[in-house]
């Protein structure tokens, strides 16, 4: 169960493969459910040219660790990986990666969705958008 905060661009598939390579789970996992959130170049009807992701270093990791622990009480998951970007981000760059490994698919699907919803609801990140007009604004709604 790993939580990573990255202040530079990350490659989600490289992260997953490196992590999976380390897992001593060969032949044991039948299901991997993955979610990747990627920066769009539009939001709330406006064009966005860049974004800055602020976070509360320390609390982020603590909350994500608690969320993973809560998922483990609900589903039999073999392992999971959460990577979240912070700092300045450009459109088309990955923001978040959640990957869950389990023996059967229901657990992986359910836990992956749960982790993403809990992350969005509770992990202390804040998005500051820089619009195409160069105006900046804090994202208020986290759909």
């Amino acid at each position: 169960m790993t939580v990573k905060i990255c202040d530079v661009a990350f490659e989600p598939f490289v992260e997953i493969q490196n992590f999976q390579h380390e897992l001593a789970l060969n032949g044991k996992f039948g299901a991997t459910s993955i979610f990747i959130g990627t920066m769009r170049d539009f939001n709330e009807g406006d064009n966005v040219q860049a974004m800055t992701l602020e976070h509360y270093d320390g609390m982020t990791q603590k909350q994500l660790t608690k969320i993973i622990a809560a998922a483990k009480t609900q589903w039999q998951i073999l392992d999971c990986l959460i990577v979240h970007r912070v700092g300045k981000i450009l459109p088309n760059e990955p923001i978040v990666l959640v990957s869950v490994w389990s023996a059967h698919r229901n657990e992986a699907f359910e836990a992956c969705r749960y982790l993403m919803e809990e992350l969005k609801a509770n992990a202390p990140f804040w998005k500051l958008e820089k619009l195409a007009t160069s105006q900046t604004r804090w994202v208020l709604k986290n759909h």
Binding site: G37, L53, E54, H55, Y56, G58, M59, K62, Q63, H84, I95, V96, M116, L119, K120, A121, N122, A123, P124, F125, W126, K127, L128, W138, V139, L140, K141, N142
Partner: protein, 76 residues
């Protein structure tokens, strides 16, 4: 001593990110806010954490605590 931390739009609004102060009587998260920001009521949607765990504004703080105030989170 306790440490207050502000994040994101609230940090911008208040113009600083950290306040450290000594407290000499029992305080809650809310009463510390009032002590430090007497002219600015704690916004209703602001979230509060003590030592990196979410708490209600009525949570009692103690010396050494790190108290954080921040707007609704927008990660993911």
């Amino acid at each position: 001593m306790i440490t207050l931390r502000y994040f994101a739009s609230l940090r911008e609004l208040l113009g600083h990110s950290t306040v450290q102060l000594d407290i000499f009587e029992p305080h809650t998260v809310l009463s510390v806010w009032k002590l430090v920001n007497p002219d600015f009521e704690l916004p209703e949607n602001v979230l509060t954490a003590v030592n990196m765990d979410y708490v209600l504004p009525s949570h009692v703080v103690k010396n050494g605590d790190e108290i954080a105030f921040f707007p609704p989170v927008t990660g993911g």
